[in-house]
C-alpha cells in the first residue's frame, strides 16, 4: 500500500473527489442533476468550479426526463453521472432506470452499453419523514439489470464511485445522509464492485450490514467484544454483484448470522441475505438467521418515532446476544 489516492477524508467529498478524478481523465464523464453546481447533497460539491456549468449541469425538476436522457447519452458515448439527490426521487424515474437502463443491453442482444451512474442518498437522517428517508436498494436489485453500491466509509465511497464510473453497466451509488460527514482515510487498495469489507473479524457470529447499519454493526461489535462475544462484521457495500463468497466464508466460520437493514423488512436486502445464507450454508448454521430491519412502515417524522423503527446499536447487540445464546 502506497499513499492515499484522495485527499478527501469524509464520505460525500470522497464521492466528489472520485468524480473529479474521473472527469479529469475522461472527457466523456459529466454530471447532471438538480442544482449540482451548488451540490445540495454533497457528492457534486465543488465540481462546477473546476469543470464549468455545461459539464456539471443543473437540470429542471424532471427526473424521468433527465435520467432517460442520461440513458440515451450513455448509449451515445458519454458517461453521465446523475445526482438524483434523495434516492426516493428515483421513483418518478423508475421506468427509465429499471425498464430502460436496466434492460437495454439485454433487449438488444448485447449491442448497447449504458455506462450511467446514478447517485442518491438513502436512509433517515433525523426528521426527513416518509418521502425523504427511503432505503430502496431492494427495488433496484429485484428490478434488475442495475449494479448497486452502498458505501459506508470514505474509502468505500471513493473506490466504489470510481468503479461505478468506469463500469460499462448502469450503477446506482447510494450514500447515507447521516454519514455524509463520516471521517476516514481513503486507502490505496482499490475496492471493486462486487467486493465486501470485513471488519472487525470474529469467530462467534457474523453481522451482515450496509450503510449506516454497517456503522452501527461495527459499534455493536465493539461493545460485544467487551462482553467476550467476537462478532465479525461484513459490510456488504456492494450489493450487485453480491459478494456471496465473502459472506458465505464468514458464515461457515461463525455458524451464526444476524442481518441488519435500514429498509422495510419484506423483500429487503436483509431477506435476500438471510435466504441465501440459509439456502447455501444451511449445514453450517447453528442458529436461525435473524433479521433486524425497519418494520413494514413508512419512516415517520418525529425523531422519537424515527428512532423507534430503525435498528440501533443496542438492538443489534441484543439480537446478536440472543443468536449467540441460541
Amino acid at each position: 500500500m502506497n499513499g492515499s489516492p484522495s485527499g478527501a477524508n469524509r464520505l460525500a467529498p470522497a464521492i466528489a473527489d472520485a468524480i473529479a478524478q474521473e472527469m479529469r481523465s475522461d472527457p466523456r464523464v459529466l454530471v447532471w442533476g438538480e442544482d449540482v453546481t451548488i451540490g445540495v447533497m454533497g457528492p457534486t460539491r465543488g465540481l462546477a468550479a473546476e469543470f464549468g456549468e455545461s459539464r456539471v449541469r443543473d437540470c429542471p425538476i424532471s427526473e424521468a426526463g433527465f435520467v432517460g436522457a442520461a440513458v440515451g447519452a450513455a448509449i451515445g458515448g458519454l458517461r453521465p453521472v446523475v445526482d438524483i439527490m434523495f434516492s426516493s426521487f428515483a421513483y418518478v424515474a423508475f421506468d427509465q432506470l429499471v425498464n430502460q437502463a436496466g434492460r437495454m443491453r439485454y433487449m438488444t442482444g448485447g449491442q448497447l452499453s449504458v455506462p450511467l451512474v446514478v447517485i442518491g442518498s438513502a436512509g433517515a437522517a433525523g426528521a426527513n419523514a416518509a418521502q425523504h428517508s427511503e432505503v430502496p436498494p431492494a427495488l433496484f436489485l429485484n428490478g434488475g439489470g442495475l449494479r448497486v453500491a452502498f458505501p459506508s466509509t470514505p474509502h468505500q465511497a471513493f473506490w466504489l464511485t470510481r468503479a461505478a464510473i468506469r463500469s460499462d453497466d448502469p450503477v446506482i451509488v447510494l450514500h447515507h445522509p447521516a454519514l455524509a460527514a463520516a471521517r476516514g482515510p481513503v486507502g490505496a487498495e482499490p475496492l471493486e464492485l462486487g467486493q465486501a469489507e470485513v471488519g472487525p473479524e470474529g469467530d462467534d457470529v457474523t453481522i451482515l450490514a450496509v450503510g449506516l447499519m454497517a456503522h452501527r454493526a461495527r459499534s455493536a461489535a465493539g461493545k460485544l467484544a467487551a462482553e467476550g462475544i467476537a462478532a465479525e462484521v461484513v459490510d456488504v457495500c456492494s450489493l450487485s454483484p453480491m459478494p456471496w463468497e465473502t459472506i458465505l466464508a464468514s458464515v461457515r466460520k461463525t455458524g451464526r448470522v444476524v442481518v441488519v437493514d435500514e429498509a422495510r423488512l419484506t423483500c429487503s436486502v436483509a431477506s435476500e441475505l438471510a435466504a441465501g445464507v440459509a439456502e447455501w450454508a444451511f449445514g453450517d448454521l447453528r442458529a436461525p438467521v435473524r433479521r433486524l430491519a425497519v418494520p413494514d412502515v413508512p419512516i415517520p417524522f418525529a425523531p422519537g418515532l424515527e428512532a423507534a423503527v430503525i435498528p440501533d446499536e443496542d438492538a443489534i447487540a441484543r439480537v446478536v446476544r440472543e443468536t449467540v445464546g441460541a
Binding site: 438538480e34 442544482d35 453546481t37 451548488i38 451540490g39 445540495v40 454533497g42 460539491r45 443543473d58 429542471p60 425538476i61 424532471s62 424521468a64 426526463g65 426516493s88 426521487f89 421513483y91 418518478v92 433525523g126 426528521a127 426527513n128 419523514a129 416518509a130 418521502q131 425523504h132 418494520p295 413494514d296 412502515v297 413508512p298 415517520p300 417524522f301 418525529a302 425523531p303 422519537g304 418515532l305 424515527e306 428512532a307 423507534a308 423503527v309
Partner: protein, 314 residues
C-alpha cells in the same frame, strides 16, 4: 377590483397574511436557535398568493400543496397550534407527528396534503376534483405547486386529463422564480408557465402574486368557472421567495444569484386599504396568537414510540 371586494376581504387578508408572516418568522427563529428538527421551507413573501386564492374557496373544497405550504394551510384556516405541533413532531400535531413540515394535512378543513415530492400532489388535486364532480358535492380542488414543479411530467399529464374531463380544478403555479437554487429561466423553456395552458385548450393567466387583489380576482374567475362546470384553469402567480429555498441553506449554498425582490405583499395591501391603525392592531393580535400557539405546541408531549407502527393500513 371593485372597492367593495377590498372592503369585504381586505382586513381578513391582512390578518391572515400577518399570521403567515409571524408563523413563518417564528419557525425561522426556532431554526436559528437550533430548536427545529428536519427541513423547513418558508413562504415569507408569498403570503398574497395563499390569501388571494384561499379566500375564493368554500369550506367543502380541497387543496393540495407542497414542501412550501404553510401559508396555504393557514389561509385555508388550519390552526397554528396543531400545525406547529406537527412541525415540531409532537403528538398533538395534525398528523400525530408523523408528517412534519412537508406533510401537514387536515382533510376535514380542506387541506388534503402537502407533498415532499415535487409535482407529486398535482394529480391528487385532479382526483379530488373528479371525486367532487362524481359525488355531486359542488366542491372544487386547487393544486398549489411551484414554478419548478411545472417541469415535471405530472403537470403535463394532469392538465391534459383535467382539460379532457372538464374537472372542477384550479392549478395554481406559485412562481417564486426559483426551484431550489435554479432561476426559473434556466428551468423553463419558452414563454412561461401560463402560456403552456394554451396547449391544453384551457385558460392560462399570469398575475402579480404580490398583489392579493390581483390574485383574488383571477382566482375568483377560475374558481367560478370550475364550479360552474367550465373546466380547469391554470393560474401563474409571480411572487418572491424572500428567505431562500430552506432555512440553513447558507451552510452550503453560498451566495447564488437571488432574483430581485418584489414588493412586500403586506405593505402593498396595507397601502391599498389605507386604514391607519388596522395593521398595527392585527399585528399585535396575530403576533400574540402565534406566540401562544407556539408555546402550547412546544409544551405538547412527544408521540408515544409505539404509535410509529400505527396508521399504515386501515
Amino acid at each position: 377590483m371593485s372597492d367593495s371586494v377590498l372592503e369585504q376581504h381586505g382586513p381578513e387578508w391582512l390578518r391572515v397574511m400577518l399570521r403567515i408572516r409571524f408563523f413563518e418568522g417564528s419557525l425561522a427563529d426556532l431554526f436559528e436557535r437550533g430548536q427545529l428538527v428536519g427541513v423547513v421551507h418558508l413562504s415569507i413573501g408569498q403570503e398574497a398568493v395563499a390569501a388571494g386564492i384561499c379566500s375564493a374557496l368554500e369550506p367543502g373544497d380541497q387543496i393540495t400543496t407542497t414542501h412550501r405550504g404553510h401559508h396555504h394551510m393557514l389561509a385555508r384556516g388550519l390552526e397554528p397550534e396543531p400545525m406547529l405541533a406537527e412541525i415540531l413532531g409532537k403528538a398533538t400535531g395534525y398528523c400525530r407527528g408523523k408528517g412534519g413540515s412537508m406533510h401537514v394535512a387536515c382533510f376535514e378543513r380542506g387541506v388534503t396534503g402537502a407533498n415532499g415530492i415535487v409535482g407529486g400532489g398535482i394529480p391528487m388535486a385532479l382526483g379530488l376534483a373528479l371525486a367532487a364532480q362524481e359525488l355531486g358535492s359542488g366542491g372544487i380542488a386547487v393544486a398549489f405547486f411551484g414554478d419548478g414543479a411545472s417541469s415535471q411530467g405530472t403537470f403535463h399529464e394532469t392538465l391534459n386529463l383535467a382539460a379532457l374531463w372538464r374537472a372542477p380544478a384550479v392549478f395554481v403555479c406559485e412562481n417564486n422564480r426559483y426551484g431550489e437554487f435554479t432561476p426559473t429561466e434556466r428551468a423553463i423553456a419558452g414563454p412561461g408557465v401560463a402560456a403552456r395552458a394554451a396547449g391544453y385548450g384551457i385558460p392560462g393567466v399570469a398575475v402579480d402574486g404580490h398583489d392579493v387583489q390581483a390574485v383574488h380576482a383571477a382566482a375568483l374567475e377560475a374558481v367560478e368557472r370550475a364550479r360552474a362546470g367550465g373546466g380547469p384553469s391554470l393560474l401563474e402567480c409571480v411572487t418572491t421567495r424572500v428567505r431562500g429555498h430552506h432555512e440553513g441553506e447558507e451552510n452550503y449554498a453560498g451566495t447564488y444569484r437571488e432574483a430581485p425582490l418584489g414588493p412586500d405583499p403586506i405593505d402593498l395591501l396595507d397601502a391599498a386599504l389605507g386604514q391607519p391603525g388596522l395593521r398595527a392592531r392585527l399585528e399585535a393580535e396575530e403576533r400574540e396568537l402565534v406566540a401562544r400557539a407556539l408555546a402550547a405546541a412546544q409544551a405538547a408531549p412527544d408521540p408515544d414510540p409505539a404509535t410509529a407502527l400505527e396508521d399504515v393500513f386501515a
